[in-house]
């Protein structure tokens, strides 16, 4: 069975998404900035390094515990700029609205965007509005772009990573994905699981100003921590080993994952950053993160290792080892 149509799995952020990017988009748009496949492209414009990113938000439901499509759009874009070491400054917002959508809901979303932008000191400076026939979109989609400036002394690169470096996650995993899923499917868990949707820019700014030797950062959104770690080792001459018992996770998220048969390592986050740092600075980075409310559960979870090359391995809680691969499609709830 060969794929001749796009399936939902192509949008899951896993292997099929990567294949689409590498086989369809990359060869055609071919250029140096894109080929880095960073969260933002870094552009050299008249001697200034500008981080430039875009993202589209199609979350369902539009409102969920801990945020809505508006906060997600602003924070998601801010985070994509922040993790490449840039300071986010300006955003765009394009709205694709379904005919018949409640104006009061749109107002609520726009207010959320206003507050989220103010909180992170960014401005939404340009935008667009399109309305399409009922049924053509599901309520409301938002597309954003964002730009920021990379300071001269910052130079993060996946190629700087070497064996011995430590892997840090800034907090609990899986909160956003399980909050949205729980709300969408009306699973009725109490207390409800709250999305971690938040802007990481101020915490990352503090971190970068502290002089620690950070090699690389990425926000583990769609596809979760496992996908991000796989992206880090992909086509590199090292691997990653991480330890299950060190990974921070909220009880509610873990319980819901257990019930549905989901692996929290693959669940989306919207307010977390994975940091690869020199071993000697790992504790310091953790300490700085923990001073911030968004980084209070930060933990060193793993290490870059010379072998096995290009693979991510997990040491399980009972002492076994398994390979953590990139997910092929969406995770599906199990029958029993």
């Amino acid at each position: 069975m060969k794929n001749d149509k796009i399936t939902l799995a192509h949008g899951s952020g896993g292997k099929l998404t990567h294949d689409l990017v590498k086989q369809l988009f990359l060869p055609r748009f071919n250029n140096k900035a894109l080929s880095q496949l960073g969260d933002s492209a870094i552009l050299d414009i008249h001697g200034m390094r500008i981080a430039f990113t875009t993202d589209s938000f199609v979350v369902k439901p539009l409102f969920f515990p801990g945020g809505d499509i508006g906060t997600l759009a602003v924070n998601g874009t801010i985070n994509d700029i922040a993790v490449v070491g840039a300071e986010p400054m300006f955003l765009s917002a394009g709205f694709i609205i379904e005919e018949g959508f409640e104006l009061s809901l749109l107002e609520k979303v726009v207010n959320s965007m206003k507050e989220a932008a103010a909180l992170a000191s960014v401005e939404i400076v340009t935008g667009d509005t399109k309305v399409v026939e009922r049924g053509s979109v599901d309520g409301l989609y938002i597309n954003t772009c964002g730009i920021g400036v990379v300071n001269d002394e910052i130079n993060l690169s996946i190629s700087a990573i070497e064996p011995g470096d430590k892997i840090i996650i800034s907090g609990t995993i899986g909160d956003h994905g399980m909050a949205v899923l729980s709300e969408r499917e009306s699973l009725g868990f109490t207390p409800s699981i709250k999305s971690d949707c938040s802007p990481l820019s101020s915490m990352i700014k503090k971190l970068l100003a502290s002089g620690v030797h950070i090699k690389f950062m990425r926000d583990p959104t769609r596809g979760g921590l496992a996908t991000t770690l796989n992206e880090i080792v992909n086509a590199q001459k090292y691997g990653i080993v991480f330890e299950e018992h060190t990974i921070p996770i909220n009880d509610g998220v873990r319980a819901l994952c257990e019930i549905l048969g989901y692996d929290p390592l693959y669940i989306a986050n919207e307010g977390k950053v994975v940091i690869v740092v020199s071993s000697c600075d790992a504790d310091k980075v953790c300490g700085i993160l923990k001073e911030d409310i968004l980084g209070k559960d930060a933990a060193i979870v793993g290490e870059v290792v010379p072998e096995p090359v290009g693979k991510v391995c997990l040491k399980t809680v009972i002492g076994g080892t398994r390979v953590i691969d990139m997910l092929v499609g969406d995770q599906l709830p199990r029958i029993c």
């Binding site: 069975m1 149509k5 399936t7 029958i335």
Partner: protein, 380 residues
């Protein structure tokens, strides 16, 4: 007590693995089979095989409900979605979504426009029926004794709510007859069964007693957590080394001797035993459940006149289980893998043309399938 960490304690796991090693030191190979998809998955997920001595061989039997669902069933579901595309909504549990039929899967059909909705429970499917009164809603009813009571309950509830647009495409299976078929298989020399956890919470321990009594094979009903599985293995080995055979319950916090009488009553009210086709294994007498006459109006096969599309006897179907049985898909050795006589690595398709992206056999589709577990957890 959170019932998670306590059963994943690394120190206790190491101690148990030492006790297991002591028990079987200098013994010939002992072959144990688990017949539960969640056992298979957790054995790989926690790397349990590395904690066991080399003379213990763990085989994964036909315990994954998606993996044993015949190709013709998927074909039938797809045929309904195509032929009645204007009037039908297909509802299904998630795992079945990607399972390959002869030429397509529900996932692909959805991309081509079929109405397929993944639900989390049969009650969700009833809600879909309620909210889409103008459509006929078909629930894909597969699975073992664990899930079948909830499907029975959905039909009773639909009757109570007077929902006339809810139907079930049934392919339900029961576990003890396939275990008997495996024991009669001369190629397999089993020393013990790790009996499924959730199936046993419904049926209890009595349905396995014939295995211990007539075949002299010890059985232990074990839970899913790593320590449950290790302790279950230890309890099996204790019996094997003492040359005893009985049915014992490790998962006593949930599974009871008499099972769950309420769920069993639901099953008996709606379903009656029948012969059933198992993917790669053929037809096994008495191993399925069909709707009793009172509930036949829920039967999607009757409503949708699909005899042209599926359930013709194909080369896949043989009885009793025969050596070298292949699935309908050429080259796939799903059947031999489900019987535990071959490993995924023995299949020339494994990891090459058959991978989670393009699964050829159902063992690669479900997260509980042996091939998927091998692929995902790095045995490839």
């Amino acid at each position: 007590m959170k019932y998670i960490d306590e059963f994943r304690n690394g120190t206790i796991a190491i101690n148990l693995s030492r006790k297991i090693a002591d028990l079987v030191r200098e013994r010939d190979t002992i072959t144990l089979m688990e017949v539960c998809g969640s056992h298979t998955m957790n054995i790989y997920r926690y790397g349990l095989k590395k904690l066991l001595p080399s003379n213990i061989r763990l085989l994964s039997g036909p315990g994954c409900p998606v993996c044993v669902t015949p190709t013709s069933y998927i074909d039938t579901a797809i045929a309904i979605s195509q032929k009645y595309s204007q009037e039908v909504l297909i509802t299904t549990f998630g795992d079945l979504f990607r399972a390959p039929g002869s030429t397509s899967s529900l996932e692909r059909e959805k991309a081509r426009g079929a109405s397929v909705i993944v639900v989390y429970s049969t009650l969700d499917a009833l809600e879909v029926a309620k909210n889409n009164a103008g459509k006929k809603v078909v629930f894909l009813g597969i699975g073992f004794e664990t899930t079948t009571p909830t499907i029975a309950a959905s039909m009773i509830e639909a009757e109570k709510r007077n929902l006339t647009n809810y139907f079930v495409l049934t392919s339900h299976k029961v576990m003890p007859p396939v275990m008997e078929a495996l024991l009669r298989d001369k190629e397999l020399n089993l020393d013990g069964f790790l009996c499924p956890a959730h199936v046993s919470t419904i049926i209890g321990s009595k349905p396995y007693e014939f295995i211990a009594r007539d075949f002299h094979i010890p059985c232990v009903i074990a839970g899913f957590e790593p320590l449950d599985i290790l302790q279950g293995i230890y309890m099996l080995l204790e019996q094997i080394t003492r040359k005893e055979s009985s049915v014992r319950i490790q998962y006593s916090r949930v599974a009871k001797c008499n099972g769950n009488p309420t769920a069993l009553a639901l099953l008996d009210r709606v379903f009656e035993p029948c012969d059933a086709e198992w993917r790669g294994l053929g037809i096994i007498p008495g191993s399925g459940l069909k709707l009793r006459s009172h509930y036949e109006r829920f039967d999607a096969r009757t409503v949708f006149q699909i005899s042209d599309f599926g359930f013709q006897i194909n080369s896949e179907i043989r009885s009793p289980i025969q050596s070298g049985t292949q699935s309908a898909t050429n080259g796939c050795i799903c059947g031999d893998i489900l019987r535990g006589v071959k490993l995924p690595a023995d299949c020339k398709l494994f990891g090459k043309v058959c991978n989670p992206e393009h699964p050829v056999g159902a063992c690669m589709v479900s997260s509980e399938g042996t091939c998927a577990a091998w692929y995902k957890y790095g045995e490839n």
